[in-house]
Assembly symmetry: C2
């Protein structure tokens, strides 16, 4: 077990390194943090910390930098979440309140997160399967063509065009619309399949094929993987990454383009609170030198989606975690209101 002072030394190293972006030496440490001991003592502690794998030297006779393991310890034990100040909270609220629709909420959230944390922000659209149905609309485009529009309680809208096997009259359409809505309105999307199963039976034989087709399109829309949309922003912040650019930034940009990767990344975080994945803890190779700070958000008590930021492992964890948590909270509020 590490002594209290050694933990303090680790904390100091992390803080200084995050601040200066340069390996930190024993002398600088004692000067900037009054640890009450001499550089020589700190050197011994550092040697111990290095043995344990919490810090490393980029090369002999350079200062130390934290390893992923070191950051992990720092996040878990040595640092809290830095709450936002009152003015910051007000600014967040003001900024989000001007949003006119869901796209706008998400877009503003991304910008806000990117600005607050000065990192790359990722916001997932509220998930369909975890939302509830507000309304299902059916529009006749042509005799055998129907547009299906789904509206969720979070304001998300999905639409699909359905080609019907047979012409479908306005009356039948109105009937289906009414029945469908009476069954699924205000129910969770996840429950919809069970609720509509027997619907075709209520219709004339000639319409059953069409009803089934519409329903199966509806169900497809719900389960489809690409239901999970997301928006990213603040990629310009990647340029503050390091001095050894192309090599570092490239794989990150590539990973960010792969929505699937990002969704998995956010999805993995099961913790109800803020989750931090550091460096190699991220499954995707391109993100091995980044950390991901994410959290769920939702209109009620329950999370309907996630949001977070991607930044260098050398980031201000307490501040970032605070910002991410605060933004998630306010986005939840905004969604609940609309």
């Amino acid at each position: 077990m590490l002594s209290e002072r050694r933990l303090q030394v680790l904390r100091a190293i992390v803080q200084d390194y995050v601040g200066t972006e340069e390996p930190v030496g024993s002398k600088a440490l004692t000067e900037r943090h009054n640890l009450g001991v001499s550089p020589a003592t700190v050197r011994n502690d550092m040697a111990a910390l290095e043995d344990e794998g919490f810090i490393a030297q980029p090369h002999t006779s350079a200062g130390r930098i934290p390893t992923d393991k070191g950051y992990r310890l720092f996040v878990d034990k040595l640092a809290g979440v830095k709450p936002m100040t009152a003015p910051e909270r007000r600014a967040i609220q003001n900024f989000l309140e001007g949003a006119v629709d869901l796209d706008d909420v998400v877009a503003r959230t991304v910008r806000l997160l990117a600005q607050l944390t000065r990192q790359v922000a990722v916001v997932q659209y509220p998930s369909l399967t975890r939302s509830t149905v507000r309304h299902v609309e059916l529009l006749s485009l042509a005799p055998a063509r129907v547009m299906l529009v789904l509206i969720t309680d979070t304001g998300r809208v999905e639409q699909r065009v359905v080609d019907c096997p047979a012409p479908f009259g306005e009356a039948s359409l109105a009937d289906l619309r009414a029945r469908l809505n009476s069954r699924v309105a205000n129910r969770r999307f996840a429950d919809v399949p069970g609720l509509v199963e027997d619907l075709p039976e209520a219709f004339e034989h000639e319409d059953r094929g069409t009803v089934s087709t519409v329903l199966s399109t509806l169900l497809e829309t719900l389960v489809e993987e690409n239901e999970e949309r997301l928006m990213i922003g603040g990629t310009a912040n990647l340029t503050r990454f390091g001095h050894d650019f192309p090599l570092t930034i490239r794989p990150v940009l590539e990973a960010l383009e792969e929505q699937v990767v990002l969704l998995k990344l956010l999805g993995e975080a099961k913790d109800p609170g803020v989750t931090v994945r550091i460096g190699h803890e991220n499954a995707h190779e391109g993100l091995n030198s980044t950390s991901v700070v994410s959290v769920g958000y939702g209109s009620g008590g329950e999370a309907v989606a996630k949001l977070g930021v991607v930044g260098p492992t050398r980031m201000d964890y307490p501040g970032t975690m605070g910002a991410v948590r605060a933004v998630a909270r306010y986005v939840g509020q905004i969604l609940a209101e609309s």
Copy 2:
């Protein structure tokens, strides 16, 4: 006026520089293009081209690179648009055909463009004002709360929640819905304001306030600047930019985050065909070392939005223009079908 051979020399310089990314010298030129003259002659031509401002030397005793003016001449006079090959065209079509909704079409288009051109792709959502109305839907959320959903012929959906000044019955709502649709369905969005002006008069006095509120929200939705959404992709391709990274890439990423800037960029192109803006021709400073190749696309003969790519001024113009044009054509087809 420049002699025919000098133009050929310029063309050769552009082609070689685009290929190698290195300043091209007189000797290399004569070796790779059979101009039928000696390096010394080419040197004279180069000196002339430099006097005219078409090419420049990064430093004394280096090869020449084209200037913006040189690229401009190349694009206007010396190069055509390289058409896609048949397999490429098939690939584009196949890739786009799998799309399920408008978001998906746009997302696929961005990916496709980025892959084909190996540059940053930008696709604008079909504009509202230039589209036609397919349907307007009104949903009652609460006695004095209505959700307004707009669906365009291009598949785009917009929704707004309207707080009404007074409770609004289901019957009135249905009435408004019917009147609204009979007036505006299949009309161009731009014409909507004139078509609904006198609608409130058809209603009972107590409902007029609500009707006006709903209508004004509808009109707001149409004119709002943020109606102009867009999607970008392929930012990872920026890493192929140059060797002097951070300085080049940073402002570009920043510019790309500013949707307003991008929209203006695409908007400026008035030409019905493919438009190319080279280097300093772009108003935005951050994009002074990039070129933008854009073109309008639409479901009918008319352009409803633009798409294009952003890349280094040193790009393969004929190929890029061909790809952009081809993609626009197929996206138009897909939109027309759905």
